[in-house]
Amino acid sequence: MAVIALVHKWDGPLQRAGLVTVGDGVHLPAGWQPDPRHYNPAALPTPFARAEATRLLLGQLEDVVVDGQPSNVLLTQFRLLLQGLAAGVLHLEPCDLASPDFDNFGRALLQVDPESRYFCRLVDSQGLGFGSTYRTTLLWGHARRTEQQWDNLAHQVHGLQKQALGLLAEWRSLLLSAGRWKPGECPWQCGVDWVIGNATGSPDLRTLHEDAALGGPVLLELPGSDAAKPSTLEPVYLPSLAVGRREQFRRLVLFAPRRGSEGVEFLDTHGNILGKILEPKASADADARALGAGSLQLLGDVKPADHQAPKLQELELLLGPLRQVFHSKGRPVDSTSVSREPYFYPDALRMLEELKKASAPKNLRLTTSCSARLWLGAHLPPVGTSCVRIAWPAAGEGVELVLTDTLLTGTSVTEVLDLRAFGAALFRVFLGEASLRGARILCQEKDLFAVGAHPLEPALWVYREVTGTPPEPLSRRLGILQRFVATYSVDGAPEPMEEALQKAASSFANWAYGTPVMSLGRRGERSLVVDLGGRMLRLGRDGYL
């Protein structure tokens, strides 16, 4: 019996007519693999054919790169785009396909590939597009740039190539350290390895820290940081050479920041805008990060102004909403997180944390919710006697959490009210007015503790409640207040956390009643266990409830 398979190529015997499995039944038979040298986007059934063809090529570099030279133009374009970006000749322009700017084409693309929503165009200084980004490919080349235009780009990149590749190597080393560099699983990382070749970066990643901008971000499929974690889609910031970038930022923050129409602006003494931290307007369903929130725009060279003090606190307050955006996406903005994986943060936040780390003492906590102006200095600021200091290693080595009700600034006393507000939150729990919802403690559907802020920091509304004179009903409840103080009183020398609870309860009770309140009466059972900033606390409720 002569039996043939009704496909274009077949290896192996056939016994009989009928349905037969092709190859192993799951994978493309080896003999059917197209020649990667001839991958043609036109033949791929997806609108993102150029990206897809580039991805296929990046996964088969050993077949398409001979003596260092690619035999498919898409790879040549990939290499040039990456070099151009790293050299600072090309920059990333974030886009949102859901924007009305992209009309029905954007909608069509989202219909078949919803994850393609956020991408960046790569443009030169004249705004001419040379390519775009894609989550599996990193970069792919524009369909209509002429050979002459590519040659011009190559010419611009040529003199900066060595530094650009060194910068890429430094950036790659960060991902490597974090366990996120796995070219075997990630075609775009194969491509980056190929482009970097044998180039190495500067010692201590100096170029990346001092003379580079991290732009984008680019939504990329990134391997998980350990073997158990799968790849995820993450907005990653890519490096570009920018000589003196960090110094420029250091100079910029010496000037007064204010909120402008496009984000935070820095003004000189004449009112001229020296730089901006962009906060693009995003629709309710848009990811502000993906649209470039936090990008730093320098409008010219910033002259030194060392006679001024850095406006880090003012900047921190203005950047509060931006920090919240990142925190809500699982990217806390603190020096540990930022220094561990800086490629997840825009320049403004990254460099601000680096500056704070350089200037701030290790053992000071910055209150972000009070109206007092705190001064960052080399030493612990003068705090009042009612102060608790708790070692908080989760925030870094040697870091302490400082809770205080007052600050002494010169001859004046500034109310900070950490302990009183903390006590107010504990009192709400004591009265049975708080409920647990997951990790959150709610009172009247509002968080009692600030989300994304420092640990044990009550919410702003709690601070406001304990500012000024107490409401009269509170001052008539001596018995409850005495039981409240008793619940948290500790005999002997309490450990710092218990001391914090004791002082917080006393601070609040004393303010509420008007005079010091004794510890008296039935202690509430401290049976409500909550996790506040990584510490498990036992909170109490009034035994008469």
Binding site: A2, R16, P34, A49, D103
Partner: protein, 459 residues
């Protein structure tokens, strides 16, 4: 619950036409509903699918033969690819479009087809998928018992649309979904080298890329897929290479369509027997190329016998409607003094009498019956002609000779004798309420011919 056949592009329509015939013949169960997608609904191929053998609308064997464009043709009219998207009010849209597609692709007149460019086909489909038209087409799939997507990985429409279509189908249907993907099944003449013309090189290119994409992205979404294409250049009696002129948009029947249709009916069974297998093909016996004719299809009868029965039916109906219709009409006009109904026997007459006692009206009834037989013959011819294009004559006869078919070629006496025998004792009884139409009588007696032929096997 219904099986839905979603046919994409020209190749999908070829498979749909094969299935149409097989359902009409009774070889495949009549629970298949068609959704056909192609930008071109005016060429001979979609027109044939819309009215195969005169059957259209609800009478269509696949419930509906209309071909739907993947985008709103009425809105865009005759248009090029870029004009579907680009307008002066959205410069950023234009920038992104031009970064993804070169000028040649942009100028493709998509109302005619995708010109062998799957990335254009995929994008046009994406535009259509946004509209309510496609979503309304796919909504009924929520009640489907099984869905089969079919088309080619070679052309621009099928290859471009199918991969994304599978994703769209999944919005409405979560059950078992099968794919039938045609690999290159025809060649183009070497002279097809004009600008924009599809060539063999383009077909091969698309097949190679399409398969790679299919295995990575599409196959995981499907329960099981069938790949069928032409295995080489050798010509056998039945399996033969086919050359098509670029731009020829008519039907080109091919054995591979029959093989694919047969494979389609076996996919569910294959999946149960070989769970975990995602791709299969058909192995063809070149020593016994009629093996598919001997397979019991869903009817439980070999296709050879079914086709033979329809050949007999066609022969007899052509006899009735072309050779002896005047005899029938003369008899029932009441004017014939020489004609008797002895030729066709009492049973047909009884059917007529059971429906119409008034002799004057009986002629009208017979006229209607003759029209009905013409219509039924047209449908059988639609199927028989196709089978005769796929198989040489010897394959369509019973192996040991076919006295019945030979006898029917012998002249009117033999035809009348067979008709009498086939209709003997089977007049159509009167309806308890109402009355039969002339078509009902014609249909009944046609079915008697078919049943008798199949039951007897040989003459």
């Amino acid at each position: 619950m219904s099986r839905y056949l979603i046919a994409v592009g020209g190749t999908g329509q070829h498979l749909a036409l094969a299935m149409t015939r097989l359902v009409h013949l009774g070889a495949v169960r009549p629970d298949v509903s068609l959704i056909a997608i192609d930008p071109d609904s005016q060429s001979p191929l979609p027109k044939l699918l819309g009215e195969p053998g005169g059957l259209q609308g609800e009478a269509h064997p696949l419930k509906n033969g209309s071909v739907f464009a993947p985008f709103d043709l009425a809105k865009f009219g005759e248009t090029t690819f870029d004009k579907l998207f680009i307008d002066a009010q959205h410069p950023r849209e234009q920038e992104v479009f031009e970064s993804m597609f070169d000028a040649d692709m942009a100028g493709i007149p998509v109302h005619k087809g995708m010109y062998g460019t799957p990335c254009v086909g995929a994008t046009v489909f994406a535009e259509g998928a946004n509209g309510t038209g496609l979503q309304n087409l796919l909504k009924p799939l929520g009640n489907a018992g099984q869905v089969i997507v079919c088309g080619s990985v070679v052309g621009g429409t099928g290859a471009g649309v199918m991969h994304k279509l599978v994703g769209e189908v999944r919005r409405y249907y979560k059950g078992e979904m099968y794919g039938v993907f045609m690999l290159p099944w025809f060649t183009l003449p070497a002279s097809s080298s004009s600008q924009g013309a599809i060539t063999d090189a383009i077909l091969s290119r698309n097949a190679a890329h399409g398969l790679k994409y299919f295995y990575e992205h599409t196959i995981p979404q499907l329960t099981l897929s069938l790949l069928v294409g032409y295995p080489g250049t050798e010509a056998y009696s039945v399996l033969r290479p086919l050359q098509v002129t670029d731009g020829d948009m008519g039907e080109h029947p091919h054995y591979l369509h029959l093989a694919a249709a047969w494979g389609l009916t076996k996919l569910s069974e294959q999946h149960v027997a070989h769970r975990g297998v995602k791709a299969c093909t058909v192995a063809h016996n070149t020593d016994q190329e009629g093996w598919l004719l001997d397979e019991p299809w869903e009817a439980g009868k070999p296709l050879r016998e079914i086709i033979r029965a329809h050949r007999v039916l066609l022969k007899l109906l052509e006899f009735l409607t072309k050779e002896v219709q005047s005899s029938l009409l003369d008899y029932y006009s009441g004017w014939s003094l020489t004609q008797s109904r002895a030729a066709w026997g009492d049973d047909l007459h009884q059917s007529i009498k059971n429906t119409e006692r008034e002799t004057k009206q009986q002629k009208v009834l017979v006229q209607g019956m003759l029209q009905g037989w013409e219509f039924i013959a047209k449908q059988s011819k639609f199927c028989v002609d196709w089978a005769q294009r796929l198989f040489p004559e010897a394959y369509l006869r019973l192996r040991e000779g076919d006295p019945l078919l030979d006898a029917l070629m012998g002249g009117p006496t033999q035809c009348w004798a067979e008709l009498q025998r086939m209709w003997k004792g089977k007049p159509l009884a009167a309806k308890p309420h109402g009355r039969h139409t002339s078509y009902d009588i014609a249909w009944h007696h046609a079915q008697c011919i078919l049943q008798d032929t199949i039951t007897r096997g040989r003459g």
